[in-house]
Amino acid sequence: MPEVPVKLTAKDFRSDQEVRWCPGCGDFAILSAIQSFMPELGIARENITFVSGIGCSSRFPYYLNTYGMHSIHGRAPAIATGLAVSRPDLSVWVVSGDGDALSIGGNHLIHALRRNVNLKILLFNNRIYGLTKGQCSPTSEFGKVTKSTPVGSRDTPFNPIALALGAEASFVARTVDSDRKHLHSVLRAAAAHQGSAFIEIYQNCAIFNDGAFDVLKDPASRDSVLVRLEHGKPITFGASGEKCVVREPRGFGLEVADTANVPRSEIIVHDETVEGPAYAFTLSRLSDSDLSNTPIGVFRRVGRPTYESMVAEQNASARAGNANATPDELLSELLHSGNTWTLG
């Protein structure tokens, strides 16, 4: 897409619509982070489109002064695919919730990822159905008591990162609503990536799941649970890097160890670009839905041609040689191609 030299500010990305989320909703922080990030893209507003499904999170497009569509529940990736394939010149973003993307819309999500459509997919994961007032979602913790599960959910939640990796995603990342700097860094990497970029954003629902991610935000706890992934750096965490990530002794998983007890060479050095998805997958299993050892950052970022570029190439090569034909000439060619006969 054309990177036009436009000097825009966050304010340019604010629409005239009053923002209507509950006080304390994490969506505000994400909105503001994205509005402040957008100018960095260097793309004119008119060349950006946000497509969303239905949910609190999906009201997002209304508040951004770009093109936008608030579509129907779960279908944003499918609609965005049609848009992106037919308009590869646009920067197309998808905004979705955990219910929207992983419950009703799960199939469209995994198919967009395997195709590597050039969509930036933001999954606002608050582990609850916000808009419908508090039912459990496919990311709600096992046993969660919600309006629809009064004695506790018996569904094993998805690990969205693992699911995306199982679906051949070329870019997978996770971040947190409240950490603007981190959010920006992940968005930056996603925007630079050619292909589907899947970003899980832990988001606080102040009304129906308040504080779900506090452990990742609270200065008292966050250092001991947040595992910040940085490309090329050994994976350590804790207030003073006292914990680190190493291989399971004989297994294929990862585990957490005391940095002091581990030779430096055994600490995993993070590499977003490992060709096969096994490494990122392994990393995704480090944390459980209890949020202990939660990696944030880019899990995987590997190059693969985008779906639309390949489609465009096929179209272009089919059109080779008729570049100057007028539509009516093409129509004549079409009608007369193959078997015809003439009477009279």
């Binding site: 629409s15 619509q17 004119a44 507003r45 008119e46 060349n47 950006i48 489109t49 497509v51 239905i54 497009p61 209304y62 002064n65 770009t66 093109y67 936008g68 569509m69 608030h70 579509s71 129907i72 279908r75 499918a78 609609i79 965005a80 695919t81 049609g82 848009l83 992106a84 394939v85 037919s86 308009r87 010149d89 646009l90 199939n107 469209h108 198919h111 489609v311 096929q314 179209n315 089919a318 059109r319 008729n322 539509p327 009516d328 093409l330 129509l331 004549s332 060619e333 079409l334 009608l335 007369h336 193959g338 078997n339 015809t340 006969w341 003439t342 009477l343 009279g344």
Partner: protein, 614 residues
């Protein structure tokens, strides 16, 4: 021995055999030569429901019917005058459709005890009196073919497989079709396998010679060319014509066409055809399901293309929620629905007209859109162009109804001059249209009631759309009661605002008291029935609806001009329902829902009865 030549006005021939016998190719070839001769014609294949049934089984029979005449032809023919039966299964499966005295050409080689038993013949019909009412030609097609190819370097299996060309040669002789075309065709088809080419040509010629030399074939027939308009023709079935129509619409609109589709019988061929039209500005996307298919098409329309999705009943059912969104977004979208028989999975390979209800009423809330129907295979082309015209001009989803009968049936199509097709160019919005330089995405054109189409990439027109109710003009989400009421009525008015031509009535005698009203693929059999009735001096008027939503403005007046309105439908009365409701006319319905198209003969009887009682 010089053969007698007999002139015929029309003939219907059915080629029937095992799935592996190449009957579709044979029939198609015969039809091509027939078309080039200048006969008008109509063809219909009949495939087994299974992909490939066990050979020699009843349900594995595949057939192809060609109806050709010295005048214009409206249907593939009710019942074949000639049956080519390549094996006992083909005979047994088709015999009931034959009129008395029909000619039957059987491949005697296949009438072995084993094959007879497979299809439940307890005695050989060629040896008992069960075929006494027919003219039966007993031809050892297989052995004759093998014998004819004895000198060629082909395996026995390949030789045997050429027997369909032997049959074609024989039929070509009988009906005085020329041979050059087929010989040329075979050479091209087997260009990479010259031995097979030679074998098939030889079989074909042997078949011809068999007719010429065998005493059993005493008569040759001739069917004079029809008075067809001069010009270039091609043979199309409904699906092909529809695909050409969609591509043509894109070219006439100067817009790329984006087809989002999920395979489904009998609509898949539209996807197949369009996927080969990249050169003509068509992008196809095989989506993960029908919801994604229509969603992607809507996304493409939002991006400024002509979004199209093609499907059949079960797929349409899945698309309904997204169609509601498309109605709200007021964007162009063409939804092609090739109807098939039955609720649920039903009878996927059979035809029916039972999706009119879901097309008209199958959305939650009130989400009106345009519904049109094609009437013949070639008409699918024009119906597709019309669907695109409405979608683009009025910015709304249009459901175009075809069906399995149209999809598979073929007829010659006189190619139009591109310039004669409507100019479908649209103007995208490029400038703010509101006071104080604002852009009002839902400001409606006073005539078309269409809103501006402002596509992403247009600076200054950034705006948000969605499925929530909105205020007229600004398009901003609105919970104001009056806004909702207004928009509900506006959406209904938008459909009624579509400019559609008046319903035309064919009433040659001018004194008919009964009108037969149809829609869709029944056009052929209804027309043929009316023609026969009129030939017999019975007055009857015929009108056929292309536009069902909106209805042409004159329909009420037309109906009022007749004592009785009869509506034949391949459903239990869906158009009748609409007509009764709208015009409070006590229509007479004739309904058949057995997966088969109407025959003109049955309609002739039914209509005559109505006329008699009118």
């Amino acid at each position: 021995m010089a053969k007698q030549i007999q002139h015929l006005d029309r003939v219907a021939i059915r080629f029937a055999g095992d799935s592996g016998d190449g009957m579709q190719l044979t029939g198609d070839r015969f039809a091509s030569e027939t078309a080039i001769l200048g006969n008008d014609l109509s063809t219909l294949p009949n495939y087994p429901a299974e992909i490939r049934a066990p050979s020699g089984s009843l349900h594995g029979v595949s057939s192809f019917q060609v109806h050709f005449a010295a005048h214009d032809v409206l249907t593939p023919g009710d019942s074949p005058d000639v049956l080519v039966a390549m094996n006992p299964a083909a005979l047994r499966a088709n015999i009931a459709d034959l009129p008395p005295n029909a000619e039957i050409i059987v491949n005697t080689d296949e009438f072995t005890p084993r094959n007879l038993e497979k299809v439940g013949y307890t005695s050989n019909p060629l040896e008992n009196d069960s075929l006494d009412g027919y003219t039966v030609h007993r031809v050892p097609l297989t052995t004759a073919t093998i014998a004819a190819l004895a000198d060629l370097d082909v395996s026995k299996k390949d030789a045997e497989r050429a027997k369909n060309m032997f049959a074609l040669g024989l039929l070509s002789w009988m009906y005085s079709r020329s041979t050059e075309g087929t010989v040329e065709f075979l050479k091209q088809k087997f260009a990479k396998k010259p031995k097979l080419a030679a074998a098939n040509v030889a079989a074909f010629q042997a078949g011809w010679n068999y007719g010429e030399t065998t005493e059993d074939f005493a008569v040759r027939y001739e069917v004079k060319p029809a008075q067809l308009a001069p010009g270039t023709y091609r043979s199309v079935n409904g699906n092909t014509a529809l695909a050409y129509g969609l591509a043509a619409a894109g070219l006439r609109a100067h817009l790329p066409v984006f087809l989002g589709a999920y395979p489904i019988t009998p609509a898949s061929e539209i996807l197949h055809e369009l996927s080969a039209f990249k050169r003509f500005g068509v992008t196809t996307f095989q989506a993960e399901d029908e919801i994604a298919a229509v969603g992607s098409a809507l996304g493409a329309s939002y991006g400024g293309g002509l979004g199209v999705t093609s499907t059949s009943g079960p797929g349409l059912a899945l698309k309904t929620e997204t169609l509601g969104l498309a109605v709200m977004l007021e964007l162009p979208l063409v939804v092609v629905n090739v109807q098939r028989a039955g609720p649920s999975t039903g009878l996927p390979t059979k035809t029916e007209q039972s999706d009119l209800n879901i097309a008209l009423f199958g959305r939650h809330g009130e989400a009106p859109l345009a519904v049109i129907a094609a009437r013949s295979p070639a008409d699918c082309f024009y119906a597709a162009v019309e669907a695109a015209r409405i979608a683009l001009t009025y910015r709304m989803p249009v459901i175009l109804l075809s069906d399995g009968y149209l999809a598979n049936g073929s007829e010659p199509w006189l190619l139009p001059d591109p310039a004669d097709l409507p100019d479908l160019q649209v103007e995208f919005a490029t400038e703010p249209n509101g006071p104080d330089g604002k852009f009002l995405p839902y400001l409606h054109d006073p005539h078309t009631l269409a809103r501006p189409w402002a596509v992403p990439g247009t600076p200054g027109l950034e705006h948000r759309v969605g499925g929530l109710e909105k205020a007229d003009g600004t398009g901003a989400v609105s919970y104001v009661p009056a806004d909702h009421d207004l928009m509900m009525r506006l959406r209904a008015a938008r459909v009624e605002a579509i400019d559609v031509p008046d319903l035309e009535v064919e009433d040659p005698s001018g004194d008919a008291r009964v009108l037969v009203l149809g829609w869709g693929s029944t056009y052929g059999p209804i027309g043929a029935a009316c023609r026969k009735l009129r030939e017999r001096g019975v007055s009857i008027a015929q009108a056929h609806l292309r536009h069902i939503a909106p209805m042409p403005k004159n329909v009420g007046a037309v109906l009022a001009g007749y004592d009785r309105v009869v509506i034949p439908e391949m459903n239990l009365g869906q158009l009748a329902h609409v007509v009764r409701e709208r015009y409070l006319v006590d229509t007479v319905s004739y309904n058949k829902v057995n997966g088969q198209p109407f025959t003109s003969a049955e309609l002739e009887t039914v209509l005559e009865e109505v006329v008699r009682n009118a």
